[in-house]
Symmetry: C2
Subunit: 337 residues, 2 copies
């Protein structure tokens, strides 16, 4: 009669427990108006059958599914993976799952791709990683699509309900202050790409510190990269080949800092004796290269958990301002002058 192929259904549970589907449904959804004895009886059958509600059927009936999306286009693998783990921390034992979608932010089809992704999957909510998160037109697209979203930002990009934020500007200021306290005067900056808030914020932090100390911030003090190793190396070469010598360089992320280190090596400069280098992110590469990189720990994993919770429990999280603080991580790539 009841075919035993596949997993048990709510009907199987109801029949074996001698109750109606509705009662089983009430047990599953923890309805308060339910006889305790009935609940236990049903739960026993559920455990016995190892019954798990069909998520697709639930999604259909509830008109919402249990999929959290994550859209990224990031040269930094470790950051993305840390983010995924953070999301899993949040959705762990729940019925939610994480759907990932790498995209190419330079593709002309970017918006169409994302639109198709959202419309096809009808996600419960989406998390957008930097640098994509800094695109206001993209946020507008999600609003238009009626898709809940959270942006990971390094500055105030949106209202609190849609934002998980970090204090990049202050963090960089602290890091550069540290260099200044070590006696450094000519401190170069490897900027992030144009149009990226994280890049702008980190540059502002550098300017804050340098200006407060009366140090120069002219155009010869900085070079631009786009958060990749190669562009970091090129920026480092540009700075190191300039007329005046730097004693320290702050790079706007760890990968570019590794590029600067590379550039220093090819020029025969020893780090940190002749050049101090500071990065940003504290991803795995920071502790892996030689010398270990002084950097700023960006609490991406905790931020990811927070982002997921904002999507799952918007009512609880809407009020809460999600500002995550960074932490300065001194390692061996900085020396005093």
């Amino acid at each position: 009669m009841a075919k035993r192929t596949g997993q048990p259904t709510i009907n199987d549970v109801a029949r074996l427990a001698g109750v109606s589907k509705k009662t089983v449904s009430r047990v599953i959804n923890r309805s308060p108006l339910l006889n305790e004895a009935t609940r236990e009886k049903v739960e026993a059958v559920i455990a016995d059958l190892a019954y798990v509600p069909n998520p697709q059927a639930r999604a259909l009936a509830l008109r919402r599914n249990f999929l959290l999306g994550m859209i990224y286009d990031n040269p930094n693998a470790q950051m993305v993976l840390n983010f995924q783990e953070g999301v899993l921390d949040a959705i762990g034992g729940s019925e939610f799952a994480l759907v990932v979608r790498p995209v190419d932010r330079h593709s002309p089809d970017l918006f169409d791709d994302i639109r198709a992704f959202i419309e096809q999957q009808r996600l419960y909510g989406v998390m957008i990683l930097p640098p994509l998160s800094e695109n206001d037109a993209l946020a507008a697209l999600f609003t238009e699509l009626g898709c809940n979203y959270v942006r990971m930002g390094s500055a105030t990009l949106d209202d609190d309900a849609h934002l998980v934020q970090s204090n990049d500007r202050q963090a960089v200021r602290d890091a550069v202050d540290y260099l200044i306290a070590q006696g450094h005067q000519r401190i170069g900056l490897v900027q992030g790409p144009e149009g990226f808030r994280s890049a702008t914020e980190r540059e502002a932090g550098w300017r804050d510190a340098m200006t407060a100390a009366g140090l120069p911030t002219g155009p010869d003090m900085l070079a631009r990269g786009n958060y990749t190793f190669d562009t970091g190396r090129a920026a480092g070469e540009q700075l190191l080949d300039g007329a005046e010598r730097f004693t320290a360089i702050f790079a706007s992320n760890d990968v570019m800092a590794a590029g600067v280190l590379h550039a220093a090596r090819t020029r025969g400069l020893s780090v940190p004796q002749e050049l101090s280098i500071v990065g940003f992110d504290d991803t795995a590469i920071a502790a892996t290269i030689w010398p270990p990189l002084t950097t700023v720990r960006w609490p991406i994993r905790a931020m990811a958990s927070s982002a997921a919770l904002k999507l799952i429990h918007p009512e609880a999280a809407a009020e809460e301002k999600s500002l995550f603080l960074t932490e300065f991580v001194p390692r061996a790539s900085v020396a005093g002058v």
Copy 2:
């Protein structure tokens, strides 16, 4: 009447096109027995409404969903991310989506976690990344759960339908042969963790080459790591602090090779002049460290695409043996003796 909240349904399309929902369904599923004029009429309405079928409803009716799972526990972020991109290459414009699940392979709850994940989400199929893929009990669990799976392997772990394989043993043999051709005689090995097929295979490749050349492979020639930077460094220290000097070391993955490089540095050994180092994987770290690492490119992205296709079109892929060939990538971390 028809509430315009949310996205249009198949009924909206049917009504506006003046046909039944079944006909619309036929259009969506490209049924061949359909009048061309009708098809065009319906397609016009679909385009007009920007109608997209509800995947949850489809999943329910078809008794299968369109979610591919990916289970991983890997210290190497770049590899996991490359894998994700490879899967996306395969499922790109289709209705499939990728659900990721990081797990902790040392957790006592590993199997329960994975079982709960599979049962809850009822995935269409799952891809298992190394080193988890090398666990036969885990494969048995998927079989028991009736969940289609593909394992990513460095050796023959399973039948062709469930396996995407690479030729690690031969690849390492070639790499060590290259070192031997450069005049190296004492070539150390940093093994991968015990019980991992990839580690066993790579070790076998090293033995093949050494034995064929009549070179020693005694217990003082190798040290074990577990694919992380720190264990790679420890293994490197163990080898370098041994009685006899090595001129080259092959590490079973890039991250451990970076650890060996680190160990060499702290001992004042210059690379590659005094010590040559070869890694395996060709992940981003290989080109990022200094000197750039000679390594073996492991075509993970293409393998991931193949794995996804095996799940989506098992009939097409079942016959095909998926053996992916590696490529030797000479960079600057090797010098002749």
